[in-house]
Symmetry: D3
Subunit: 133 residues, 6 copies
Amino acid sequence: MPTVKPVPYADAPPAVRAVYDDIMTTRKVDWINNFWLTLAHHPATLKRTWESVKEVMAPGALDPLVKEMVYLAVSASNNCEYCIRSHTAAARKAGMTEAMLGELMAVVGMANETNRLANGYQVEVDERFKQAP
Amino acid sequence: MPTVKPVPYADAPPAVRAVYDDIMTTRKVDWINNFWLTLAHHPATLKRTWESVKEVMAPGALDPLVKEMVYLAVSASNNCEYCIRSHTAAARKAGMTEAMLGELMAVVGMANETNRLANGYQVEVDERFKQAP
Amino acid sequence: MPTVKPVPYADAPPAVRAVYDDIMTTRKVDWINNFWLTLAHHPATLKRTWESVKEVMAPGALDPLVKEMVYLAVSASNNCEYCIRSHTAAARKAGMTEAMLGELMAVVGMANETNRLANGYQVEVDERFKQAP
Amino acid sequence: MPTVKPVPYADAPPAVRAVYDDIMTTRKVDWINNFWLTLAHHPATLKRTWESVKEVMAPGALDPLVKEMVYLAVSASNNCEYCIRSHTAAARKAGMTEAMLGELMAVVGMANETNRLANGYQVEVDERFKQAP
Amino acid sequence: MPTVKPVPYADAPPAVRAVYDDIMTTRKVDWINNFWLTLAHHPATLKRTWESVKEVMAPGALDPLVKEMVYLAVSASNNCEYCIRSHTAAARKAGMTEAMLGELMAVVGMANETNRLANGYQVEVDERFKQAP
Amino acid sequence: MPTVKPVPYADAPPAVRAVYDDIMTTRKVDWINNFWLTLAHHPATLKRTWESVKEVMAPGALDPLVKEMVYLAVSASNNCEYCIRSHTAAARKAGMTEAMLGELMAVVGMANETNRLANGYQVEVDERFKQAP
């Protein structure tokens, strides 16, 4: 169980309920997952986090599937079980196939390996990599 | 400077030179960046790491641009300066625009934030997120 | 279950029991939590860790509530379930309200986000931030 | 140098300039630090991040000094040089003494140590720590 | 349960079965642990990861016990429960005593503490530490 | 430069000087490296950290070379430049050859990769790995 009490829809004050409604409308779902129910413990954090996630994950120069896979990649690297499970589900819903998931995890693993080799040997940054475009 | 001596092409033993040649051929470039020159300190690590990276980063179910952006996302999350700079350059070469980089970093930042909110409150995983497909 | 056998009070050798007694006296409690029971697997680590924690967490220039909240912030950031749960409890005991916990987690989340934005873009440190006082 | 071009005030489009102005007004300073100049590469990220930081760091149930110290603690734990230097400066400006900084770093170090001891031995969470209040 | 379906030996295609057979032969065991059964979801990752682990963990300039302890140290530091439990078991099988485990965890804890003290204060690298041999 | 003023031997108060003397005597060196000079900003942290490091790194069930390599492995994984450089030097002084360093980094890289594969797929811990000895 979480360290704070989640706030079910039925008990939510109007400001929290408004966020819940926007989540369901935006995502075209009829339930609220535990992440938001738990954040509602601190309504300002619920509202700010939802609005940020909504803006950041909207289609743009990157499509939603790529964004979900990047989210999953970071969550796998940081070991957040909740985020790994919820974003694996979200990425699949957005079209991620099993082959794509396999390649995604392979890249995540490889990046974590070479990050430590580069840092562990204190590899010097090449001059050519130092310019902004 | 790195903690070990990089091995320039001219001084490389044949096994190392063969890896260097394969890197340049595969990537269609005429130079070797410091990461590989430094790994050559331990030739078995150079060869294994290059062959793994070559396999993992090849086009497949995910295209090379997505793979480069995922690599950059993980490296930014882990704070590997070498990897951030080299994969920002590689992603741009593979077609990443400035708008895509902006959205990528926004997702990385958001994932790092929500990873800690989920862990910090010990949010319980929803039953619906627990099934494999 | 842990990877080593915890040492219950009844079975503890005198050196371990002395640490357990000091923990209970210092904290004014009548039980020993699993962290210390497990560390007792290696008595030198138990003793050194307890003495360090006792010294570091004592009231000083920072009051105990602030120290507990900082401990919780780091533990949430690192994702140590045991530490998150035990220090959430300890911080509440020291006076942390639910509103304070909400703001604390908000700061932890925000710091984790901006840490990656600063590193991900390799933001240059301003000259004004480089001086020691 | 950063991986993207910072946007100086003189070259900033109106939407970016509005954020810069709000930063200077809110913080009562007459310059913009590199973090914001660099984020301006992606104006939506600049605006959203500033508004979030402004809201999260405002006085509330926790005072600004505590918030700055928590920010610094997380940044030290994650090793973000930019954030360590800028928030050490900010915390001092908010009243952090050298003794407070010393105790803060001691708590950060100790939390990082015990987080790994708890995880490394897979210490079991005590039943008493599992309840929300 | 994992986010993908593990592949039991009976259902494994020949390429996967060949890796399973090599794991059992190399390790002189008659079962396959869940890590490999799960990686088999993406056969290329299974094969590449096994071949890399087999090469890296073979006796060389470092003996297998030291390698297992280093693996455990990194896993404890990163908080990978699966890896902590499997490599604690593997290290014990390779000869790690309880006293050795106690000292190993003490070093892991201490390194995590001093890493943050060095980064948190931005300690300057001594000139004498900057030379490669 | 560090965020606090290092304390040179000549300016050190007696309590700090006593620690410096013990460091030089214990390590049989005639200089103090920046880590300790910087920690001296907070004498209690200097003294506690030194005494802990001295105890933890002393010969025991593990020899000093193994301990130095584990310290380096954790520091490489966490990306602490100061610690990587100082413990690479210390490990070499304790007898680490270049071949040993190469194998050590290979294990560190591999552990970081498989930690993320195990977490990223949420691999289930095998029953056989759950028992303490």
